[in-house]
């Protein structure tokens, strides 16, 4: 069969003006979501490695649920499921930021855990042997080193989250998804 398909470059270029207004929204959603996700990630990442078992398990549940389900499902839940639960519509921008926050938060939790656990045991032992408390050892010795090691994976997560905002349209709603579905043909019978 002949492939008779041509990419229409003129259409791609001419659509740029339509895409540009979406950039501030994309940035707002991704950086807003990532900023919140960062704190969520620190919180659950530290819970995840807590010596107390009943602090660990809520973190495990959160991390596994949001890493183990497609972000599209999470987005649909936040845009359509949550308003039903709350009994009212939610602002599309808030919903977008929330989606990025809870999703990136789960991945960042694992980045935090990996960063902290990558610090050699001797660092903690040396700190404790000097009389520092466990909290001081963490704050002054472990955490600053862990944070540095977290920078490259955090950068990767940032890029992933920015791309994930394409799940929301440039106007900050998911109406494109509904439209896209309405124009796609029903599954063809075999």
């Amino acid at each position: 069969m002949d492939v008779n398909f041509q990419f229409d470059w003129s259409a791609a270029f001419s659509s740029i003006p339509y895409l540009l207004p979406g950039i501030p929204w994309t940035l707002l959603i991704s950086f807003g979501g990532l900023a919140i996700g960062f704190f969520i990630g620190i919180f659950f990442g530290l819970l995840r490695i807590s010596p107390v078992r009943w602090l660990r398990w809520p973190a495990i549940v959160y991390i596994e649920v949001f890493r183990g389900t497609p972000i599209l499902v999470q987005v649909l839940f936040i845009f359509y499921g949550l308003p039903q639960l709350l009994g009212g519509p939610i602002n599309a921008l808030v919903a977008g930021i929330a989606a990025i926050a809870v999703n990136s938060g789960a991945y960042i939790s694992e980045i935090v855990r990996g960063g902290v656990q990558s610090i050699e045991r001797g660092q903690r032992e040396a700190s404790l042997s000097l009389g520092l408390s466990r909290v001081q050892a963490f704050r002054y010795v472990i955490w600053p080193q862990a944070l540095r090691r977290m920078i490259p994976p955090l950068g990767n997560q940032g890029i992933i989250s920015i791309k994930d905002t394409s799940l929301f349209s440039s106007s900050g709603s998911v109406s494109w998804y509904v439209k896209g579905r309405s124009i796609s043909p029903p599954p063809s019978p075999r």
């Binding site: 660092q123 009389g131 010795v141």
Partner: protein
């Protein structure tokens, strides 16, 4: 050393297990202030574990351990005593364990400021004096990665001394060093011993051990197999285990 002094460390019937491994078996040991004790023994015999029990880096399962009047209970049931002991006991590790994100001066001042509550000025004055003493004052503004192994271990010594410890533990402090740097670290330790610091040293440097030790303890499979003055232990070892160990380490 005089036997009438109150011991600074007193271990009685100490037992330590790692899972099914019985690492320390019924250890009785007393150390008096000013004493320099060197612990020797084959690799894996429990030397590190023994001295790590003294500052609570290892929990014991039974027995009693007193350090400078603070009692450490088995199974980690004494956090306050533990905290006090750790501020009074300094430790130098085989792998240095310096803080790579801090410059030398900040490494040395961290604990005095955070634990003892000293002002930065006081802590820095003390730190500079100590760095001077171990011969690395010029490196105060550098990061550990910019120093040689010998310099790093001397920073580690200064870091521990900055807390003005009553007792110093050394866990094989020269075995990670290039041969040409061993001397500078041993010199610093020798100096400390001369000043009267109470020291417990795990080492494979037998010449150094003979020179600085008031007493040598030989550990075999988690038990104190033999102990005595350097002359007794090196020149007239009583036990067959000690003899064969010394024959192995002294013949090369």
């Amino acid at each position: 050393m005089t036997s009438t002094q109150t011991p600074i460390v007193r271990m009685q019937k100490l037992h330590k297990h790692f899972g099914s491994l019985h690492v320390l078996n019924d250890i009785d040991m007393e150390i008096v202030p000013g004493e320099v004790v060197v612990v020797i023994g084959a690799s894996g015999s429990g030397k590190s574990t023994l001295i790590r029990c003294i500052n609570g880096l290892e929990e014991v399962q039974s027995g009693s351990l007193d350090v400078d009047g603070n009692t450490l209970l088995p199974n980690g049931k004494s956090s306050q005593a533990l905290q006090t002991i750790r501020t009074e006991v300094g430790m130098v590790f085989q792998q240095f364990n310096l803080f790579p994100h801090l410059i030398v001066l900040d490494i040395v001042t961290l604990a005095p400021m955070k634990v003892r509550g000293w002002s930065r000025q006081d802590a820095e004055e003390t730190a500079k004096r100590l760095l001077e003493r171990v011969g690395i004052a010029a490196q105060a503004g550098r990061y550990p990665s910019q120093l040689s192994g010998g310099q790093q271990q001397r920073v580690a010594l200064a870091r521990a001394l900055a807390m003005e410890p009553r007792l110093m533990l050394f866990d094989d402090p020269t075995s990670a060093l290039d041969p040409e740097m061993i001397g500078e670290v041993l010199d610093a330790m020798r100096e400390l011993a001369k000043e009267g610091m109470t020291m417990v040293i795990v080492t494979h440097e037998m010449g150094f051990a003979r020179e600085v030790a008031d007493r040598i303890i030989f550990i075999h499979k988690g038990e104190i197999a033999e102990q005595g003055s350097p002359e007794q232990l090196f020149d007239a070892p009583q036990h067959e285990r000690t003899q064969s160990f010394l024959a192995r380490v002294l013949n090369h």
